[in-house]
């Protein structure tokens, strides 16, 4: 079916749903291939056992758990950031929130599967439901990830209802699906009001859930007795890291789809400037946490802790550690604090660096501790096997595929919010501004409404 231009103001936002280019199909084929390869790797692992991985003793948790923490971290891009931006009434959020929320939904589903991939006996997973023990941090994790997934899917869906209604009213493809999902939305004032109310409740709820998710993941490590893990700072440290990698991933996705679907008019330079500033702030915050964590360890100089510390700083993991410092601290700070380099390209480079760096950070937290047990065992060097790499590649391509699939069914930028911004926010914001200023707000309100009528 060819694309009908209905001459909407925001036609660009509808276009990707109805028009598909050739390169899109090629990408789908390639990514599906990678995904199938990863699936094959997993089946091999199922049949052969976890021996197919590079894990050993004492490094009994490795790639899968690193990826698990990493993906769940990325998922904080979305819902958390979008909720914070909505809550603080940041007007520039409008074209960003939808993409952020989609990232959360997809990545959370993928990340949440990783512990299952990591199980030695996935066939016994139901034991968690029959006779799980709530005192184990793994169960807390299961609970909070499920809660976060449910909450963020609902939080993605409800603000999307008006857009689905728009799509439904256009007619054409997937009529029935839109009809079902639009929930009879017609845009009456009362409907709008109900929707707004629900969004408000959700965004207040989603923030503590999101924070709890990553705190609990940190506690999986923090609750153990192991050197390098047993630290009170881990909860907030992981949350900051999660937001950090989340923003970076969001920037990458935004830039990619801006290019792909020609959203230049909606995602302007200014949006990236703001996100870049946010990234810079979180970068400094992350550095502060990292510094605090390692300095206290070093000053305490406990032998078991120091072995892990040395392993990271000068031992086998030094290249990873210092690379992480480079791409997580030095590079973003230099790029983002300099006007000349803080362009869209510069921000993209910094973001890619941060995503890699945050993956390394998870690696550096998890493996050195396991590789240096308290008692004198031979410390092995862990290298991932093809199986693990294949599954990681499959997870990444599943993410991209999911995102691409989503963009073919739903608009990637919230259309009604853009319209709303155009129609009423300019007026609202100027009124809000008047309220901040000295003088009587009442007068200002009257004045503003008079102006609006004119």
């Amino acid at each position: 079916m060819s694309y009908v231009d209905l001459h909407d103001e925001d036609e660009t936002l509808f276009r990707p749903i109805y028009e598909t280019s050739k390169s899109f199909y090629i990408a789908v084929v390639v990514l599906t291939g990678v995904f199938l390869f990863g699936l094959g790797c997993y089946i091999h692992q199922l049949l052969y056992g976890l021996g197919a991985t590079g894990m050993d003793e004492p490094v009994s948790w490795a790639f899968y758990i690193v990826d698990f923490v990493f993906f769940i971290g990325i998922s904080h891009a979305g819902t958390l950031i979008s909720a914070i931006l909505r809550l603080s009434k940041a007007e520039w959020r409008r074209p960003i929130t939808r993409m952020a929320e989609v990232i959360t939904g997809i990545v959370l589903a993928i990340g949440g599967l990783h512990p299952v991939i990591d199980l030695g006996r996935p066939d016994r997973i139901l034991h968690l439901f029959e006779r799980g023990r709530l005192q184990s941090p793994l169960l807390w994790d299961l609970t909070s990830v499920t809660a976060y997934f449910t909450a963020s899917t609902i939080y993605l869906y409800i603000p999307m209802i008006p857009d689905i209604a728009l799509l439904r009213d256009r007619g054409g493809k997937l009529q029935n699906l839109y009809k079902i999902l639009a929930w009879g939305y017609k845009g009456t004032p009362k409907q709008k009001h109900a929707l707004e109310k629900a969004i408000n409740i959700l965004m207040v709820m989603v923030i503590p859930i999101a924070i709890s998710v990553h705190t609990i993941i940190a506690w999986i490590f923090g609750m153990t007795l192991q050197p390098g893990w047993h630290s009170t700072i881990f909860g907030p440290y992981f949350v900051v890291g999660a937001i950090y990698s989340g923003i970076a991933a969001l920037v990458i996705v935004m830039i990619a789809f801006r290019k792909l679907y020609h959203f230049e008019d909606y995602l302007k330079e200014i949006h990236f400037q703001y996100l870049g500033t946010l990234l810079l702030v979180v970068s400094l915050l992350w550095t502060y946490f990292t510094f605090a964590e390692y300095l206290t360890t070093f000053y305490g100089h406990e032998p078991a802790e120091m072995r892990v510390f040395d392993y990271k700083f000068i031992g086998a993991y030094w290249p990873y550690f210092w690379l992480m410092v480079l791409v997580n601290f030095v590079m973003p700070v230099i790029i983002l604090s300099n006007k000349k380099t803080k362009t869209i390209k510069g921000i993209l480079v910094a973001s890619i660096g941060v995503v890699i760096g945050m993956w390394l950070e998870r690696l550096i937290i998890i493996i050195p501790t396991l590789a240096n047990p308290r008692l004198p065992y031979p410390t092995g060097m862990y290298t991932p096997s093809i199986t693990e790499l294949g599954i990681a590649a499959a997870a990444t391509s599943a993410f991209i595929l999911g995102f691409m699939g989503f963009s073919k069914i739903f608009p990637l930028i919230s259309i009604w919010e853009t319209k709303e911004g155009r129609e009423s926010s300019v007026h609202e914001v100027s009124m809000r501004l008047r309220e901040y200023l000295p003088g009587h707000p009442e007068e200002a309100k009257v004045e503003a409404s008079v102006k609006a009528e004119l």
């Binding site: 003793e57 004492p58 006779r131 153990t224 007795l225 004198p376």
Partner: protein, 228 residues
């Protein structure tokens, strides 16, 4: 209820590793392939650890220590298990329920002694080994965690036997395989709560110490320091 414990005298121990072998045979512990062994996946419930090297090359005197599961009274492995595949019995033995374990390896990550071993895969065992399997101990499938259980099957045997003979379980009725195998009687085993038993006396010796006791795990396997 008795509280089983063990004291290993490092003065007597000659590092002959008889206990290591006895344990492996007694408990049908899997023999892994050479590849896996090189990869650090060799499975031992009892292991000889080299704690430190005294002296200069070539006159090195390694200090060794046989290490099984410490059977902690406050075990950190149990705290984190999501399905109660590992639990502490009333007689203090930290046991493992193989059909329950989902293989998440959280307990491995949290045991400060790195005691637990995982069945990364299941290899065909040599014929001779299969013939000599201990019928009292189940052969573990791939994907689950296992560790020293103080040969809990022997306790079962012993108490059934005592019951059949209409008597109480006596000290010496039940000893793990490693204790039995030790040629120099370096390992004492028995009821720690019975103040007059050999283990209890030995565990209060001035040379007695527990590995990494400072972590608060309260190990029930204790050592007598080697003194020249």
């Amino acid at each position: 209820m008795p509280k089983y414990g063990m004291v290993i005298d490092l003065n007597k121990c000659t590092s002959c590793q008889a206990c290591v072998t006895a344990c492996k045979v007694e408990n049908n512990v899997q023999i892994v392939s050479e590849d896996d062994a090189q990869h650090g996946r060799a499975m031992f419930w009892m292991k000889m650890l080299t704690m430190e090297f005294d002296g200069d090359y070539p006159n090195i005197k390694p200090k060794t220590l046989p290490r099984n599961c410490m059977q902690c009274d406050e075990p950190s492995c149990i705290k984190v298990c999501p399905v109660r595949a590992t639990y502490i019995r009333e007689d203090g033995i930290v046991a493992q329920i193989y059909p329950q374990c989902i293989g998440c390896r959280y307990c491995m990550a949290n045991c400060p002694y790195t005691v637990k071993v995982f069945n990364w895969d299941r290899q065909a065992q040599p014929k001779e080994v299969e013939k000599t399997y201990n019928p009292d101990v189940s052969v573990r499938p791939k994907g689950i965690v296992e560790k020293c259980t103080f040969c809990v099957h022997r306790l079962q045997d012993a108490s059934e036997k005592a019951k059949a003979e209409h008597r109480e379980l006596e000290p010496g009725d039940y000893v793990p395989a490693c204790v039995e195998a030790c040629p120099v009687d370096a390992i004492t085993f028995g009821d720690l709560d019975d103040k007059k038993s050999d283990v209890s006396v030995a565990s209060r010796d001035y040379r007695a110490f527990g590995l990494l006791e400072e972590l608060g795990t309260v190990p029930k396997v204790r050592y007598l320091n080697a003194i020249e």
